[in-house]
């Protein structure tokens, strides 16, 4: 699920199109360059803006629809900036066997938004994810860049407190 709750479309920063063109131009020599370009754009510019799509299509000399199709197929690509802290909770079988579904309900209540959503103050984006490969130490939760194992509701609250 992509983050779609932000009411207004994000306003791209000035110079964004130029920077997107530079990134795409730098990487276009790679085989299958589109996904590496989208990753690079998101890493530097936080998300993939609707206005980035025709720029990338132009550099790669492919249809706008093709780029749009790829951006919307893959969950990783955000269409709007994420909150200041991202929280991703594994919801796959192994983590479910040790309470990940209850942990998710707790997280939604205590953070105040659902999966794929960002809190109204832009503080936290909550996502569900299917497997970090930490299946023997679940439930697994990623806060920002850091992965945590054996996360209980109390531990999650503590982690969120640190992130505040």
């Amino acid at each position: 699920m992509t983050s779609e709750v932000v009411a207004a479309a994000p306003v791209p920063v000035p110079g964004r199109a130029q920077r997107v063109r530079e990134i795409a131009t730098e990487l276009r020599g790679l085989r299958g360059a589109l996904i590496p370009i989208l990753h690079a754009v998101q890493e530097e510019l936080e998300y993939v803006d609707q206005t980035d799509i025709p720029v990338i299509a132009d550099v790669l000399n492919i249809a706008v629809a093709e780029v749009h199709g790829v951006v919307t197929f893959y969950k990783d690509f955000r269409r709007a900036p994420a909150g200041r802290t991202t929280v991703a909770i594994c919801q796959a079988e192994a983590c479910r066997s040790v309470g990940a579904a209850d942990l998710a309900e707790h997280a939604k209540r205590s953070i105040g938004c659902g999966f794929g959503e960002t809190t109204y103050d832009g503080r936290i984006t909550l996502d569900e994810i299917f497997c970090f490969g930490n299946c023997a130490l679940g439930p697994a939760v990623q806060v920002g860049e850091k992965l945590h194992g054996r996360v209980t509701p109390a531990r999650l609250d503590a982690l969120l407190g640190e992130a505040r």
Binding site: I35, V70, Y74, A92, A94, S97, V98, C131, C135
Partner: protein, 512 residues
């Protein structure tokens, strides 16, 4: 003399505080003027003991685990740096002598947890590059036949003989061929690919180079999932080192072989673990599956002949070449030869990596190695082979881990992941989740998967609500049969496996 202390850099170990433990040890050693080198190794695979600290002593590597950061000072005061502290709970003794380790036969995972993953010197001193040197001394066809003779089958789940696939690619005429490693390990309960890449990345590089030599490929791609950032960083660093050592590049080991390797990061689509969908994604497209034929071995990446193998298949090739096919095939049973890297996860007391010959029973893995559940409640079900594998009751714990035996029981070994559930599990909700997951992750190309999964969720909801229960159970069976027979790939084709096994073995959860 420098004391070597090992603290894993594995993502699982880091998720429970390994970085903080390593920092504390280094800081304390500096403060006390002790000559300590902290090595960030891979994980030994005893994940319930992470962070597992090991200290090199004259007797061997003595382990302490699990070690919390705040326990470090106490352990150091108790003599951890000389391997002492036998009266402390975390003191494990010599790690190689632990029964959990001694009962295993580690071939693919021989170096994981033992060496520094990014030390090329340690890699070669622990037997690395022997397989590639052996391969380069043979003809490509001989290398292919060695892999055929070893009986190695695809460790990604399908179990197709690796050597046969290579033979097809070798025989295909093309000026450009590829080797692609499928490292999109999206199945819940599987983490061996991740641990191998983080713990011994040169083995994968060596295996892919052998594959390239055997089939005549010049470029390799590792499709690695974005959920594994540590593995991405480690593999990229290892590739740089391999290039600088002449293990990759225009003239591999001075043999004239030209082969280079690239990492491509996935973007959060489970379906890209399916080989043709992965190829589409590598080409920069939506990860929609392709109809087969043509098979990727003949028309794969960008339409060229392509080897597509799982991480563990490729990482097992070096030891097969180094030790020879017969030695490898001496392990295992029936047509399941060699060792497999089983992964214990979920509600299990002792989760982790168990590499052992095929033929060990499910019960030995879950009870003897795993020690039952972590909750202490009785085991009720295990799911073997990922989200598309069957749920099995304890009554089937005598099943041997063997591709054919599992298939005969309506289950699959798959990637060797085993997820344990205790008696609190509601199997109707797990069956519903299997459909939900399929609906969310379906690429949408074929109708049985795209629509069938949604209808499956609805049908299970009706059964659980007691609405026309008998009729809906028949309908569910019919839907499952259609998905099995009519889907384009294993996503839709195997989603019925967890569903039907749950109904078969745990019928009372469905309101019977």
């Amino acid at each position: 003399m420098t004391i070597r202390v090992y603290v894993p850099r594995d993502a699982a170990a880091r998720s429970v505080g390994a970085d903080e433990v390593a920092e504390r040890i280094a800081a304390a050693a500096t403060a006390h003027g002790q000559d300590v080198q902290v090595v960030r190794n891979g994980s030994r695979g005893m994940l319930w003991l992470e962070p597992l600290v090991e200290v090199e002593t004259a007797e061997g590597r003595v382990g302490y685990g699990p070690v919390a950061p705040e326990e470090v000072d106490g352990l150091l005061a108790a003599g951890m740096l000389s391997g002492e502290g036998g009266d402390i709970g975390a003191h494990l003794g010599v790690v190689d002598e632990l029964p959990w380790m001694k009962r295993q036969q580690r071939l693919t995972f021989a170096r994981v947890g033992v060496t520094d993953p990014l030390s090329a010197e340690e890699y070669t001193s622990y037997g690395g590059m022997r397989g590639l040197r052996e391969a380069l001394a043979r003809t490509p066809a001989e290398v292919v036949e060695t892999v055929v003779d070893s009986g190695l089958r695809g460790r990604g789940g399908a179990g197709f003989p690796t050597g046969i696939k290579w033979r097809t690619v070798l025989g295909a005429e093309s000026d450009l061929k590829f080797v692609c490693c499928n490292a999109d390990e999206g199945d819940s309960g599987t983490f061996a690919d991740r641990m191998l890449i983080e713990g011994d990345p040169f083995t994968l590089i060596e295996g892919m180079t052998i594959a390239a030599y055997a089939v005549g490929a010049s470029e390799g791609y590792v499709y690695l999932r974005s959920e594994y950032p540590d593995a991405v960083a480690t593999l990229r660093a290892a590739i740089e080192i391999a290039r600088s050592k002449g293990w990759l590049g225009a003239d591999v080991l001075g043999s004239g072989l030209a082969f280079d390797l690239h990492v491509r990061v996935g973007a959060g689509a489970y379906i890209c673990g399916e080989e043709t969908s992965m190829l589409e994604s590598l080409e920069g497209k939506r990860g929609q599956v392709r109809a087969k034929p043509p098979i990727p071995a003949l028309e794969g990446l960008f339409g060229r002949p392509t080897v597509v193998n799982n991480v563990l298949s490729l990482a097992t090739v070096p030891v097969i070449l180094a030790e020879d096919a017969e030695a490898y095939a001496a392990y295992g049973t029936g047509r399941s030869l060699g060792t497999s890297v089983f992964q214990l996860g979920g509600n299990v007391a002792r989760g982790g990596i168990v590499e052992t010959a095929f033929g060990i029973t499910l019960g030995e893995l879950v009870n003897d190695f795993g020690g039952g559940t972590s909750s202490g409640r009785p085991v009720r079900a295990v799911q073997v082979g990922g989200p598309l594998g069957a749920y099995l009751p304890v009554e089937q714990f005598d099943l041997p881990m063997d591709y054919e035996a599992f298939a005969a029981a309506g289950a699959m070994v798959g990637h060797g992941g085993i997820v344990v559930f205790d008696e609190t599990v509601d199997m109707a909700s797990m069956a519903r989740f299997a459909f939900e997951f399929c609906a969310a992750e379906s690429c949408g190309k074929c109708t049985p998967c795209r629509v069938g999964a949604v209808r499956g969720v609805e049908t299970i909801d009706r059964i659980v609500a007691g609405e026309d229960r008998k009729k809906n159970l028949v309908l569910l069976d019919d839907l499952c049969e259609l998905m099995t027979d009519g889907s384009l790939c294993a996503m839709g084709g195997l989603t019925p496996m967890p569903v039907q096994s749950a109904v078969r073995h745990f019928g009372k959860d469905f309101g019977a």
